[in-house]
């Protein structure tokens, strides 16, 4: 009986994941109520124009930016520098993610189908909840991980960063906490004169 010759699929692709964070508490008054949120990203390069789902997931741990600066089209990155976030590190090369590839919530904060080059917008009630939580608890504001389609090769999408001419933009509506009007001070009773 001839042996069946099988070959396991050889993956030659490498996964990339984006991470980005916004200073919510430093942008609006505390105790405000967030009512709507949208994130706009410019997708500036793609291997194929096939539409792929791109999801936002709330990050569960802090991470850093060092001074790495990838050359060319930037698809291969650059050697990590001190405090850079990498696949393995939250802060290179001393603090690691609990899970390689980033510690993020399984809950999808929002998803969007991205095909050809262009601007795409994400919005959802979960994003409103995320931003509200970051306003109320700034110490837990680690931003979102941007998760693309990792099911097959050739799904990579390139988005522009804050260093580019078309940076990500987070737009949100909020209602500041109602402020009490100044209270009139009671007039003290006249002092009896002796």
């Amino acid at each position: 009986m001839p042996l069946a010759i099988t070959s396991s699929p050889v993956r030659t692709g490498e996964i990339r994941r984006g991470v980005l964070a916004f200073d919510i508490a430093g942008s609006i008054p505390p105790c405000s109520t967030i009512t709507a949120v949208s994130l706009s990203l410019n997708m500036s390069r793609t291997l194929l124009e096939t539409a792929r789902i791109v999801e936002l997931h709330k990050l569960l741990a802090d991470w850093g930016e060092g001074t790495s600066d990838a050359p060319g089209e930037e698809g291969d990155g650059a050697p990590a520098t001190t405090n850079d976030a990498t696949w393995r590190h939250r802060f290179f090369d001393t603090i690691f993610w609990a899970m390689q590839g980033g510690d993020f919530s399984a809950i999808v904060s929002a998803s969007q189908s991205a095909g050809p080059v262009g601007f795409y917008t994400w919005n959802s009630t979960q994003m409103v909840s995320d931003v509200q939580s970051w306003l109320d608890n700034p110490g837990f504001n680690f931003g979102w991980l941007v998760l693309g389609d990792e099911s097959t090769l050739g799904t990579a999408k390139r988005f522009d960063t804050r260093e580019s001419a078309s940076p990500p933009v987070l737009t949100f509506e909020y209602t500041p906490r109602a402020m009490p009007t100044p209270r009139p001070r009671p007039t003290p009773p006249p002092r009896p004169t002796s």
Partner: protein, 63 residues
């Protein structure tokens, strides 16, 4: 008698202060990220890669 009048004035003033609130109106703001980066899947031959200062971040799988 003077004490009770003072107390009454205080209570009325306090009540008015709690009722009177300035109406807060909704606002919209747009902000840029405070930081962003790419996590490049670790390949031992390439070492740890990153792109803190780059103009782009990436998602999905290449090639």
């Amino acid at each position: 008698m003077r004490k009770s009048k003072t107390l009454l004035a205080f209570l009325v003033t306090a009540a008015l202060g709690c009722v009177g609130v300035r109406l807060a109106s909704a606002a919209t703001i747009s902000i840029f990220p405070s930081k962003d980066n790419t996590l490049y899947e670790y390949v031992p031959a390439d070492g740890d890669r990153s792109n803190a200062l780059g103009n782009h971040f990436f998602t999905g799988e290449n090639r």
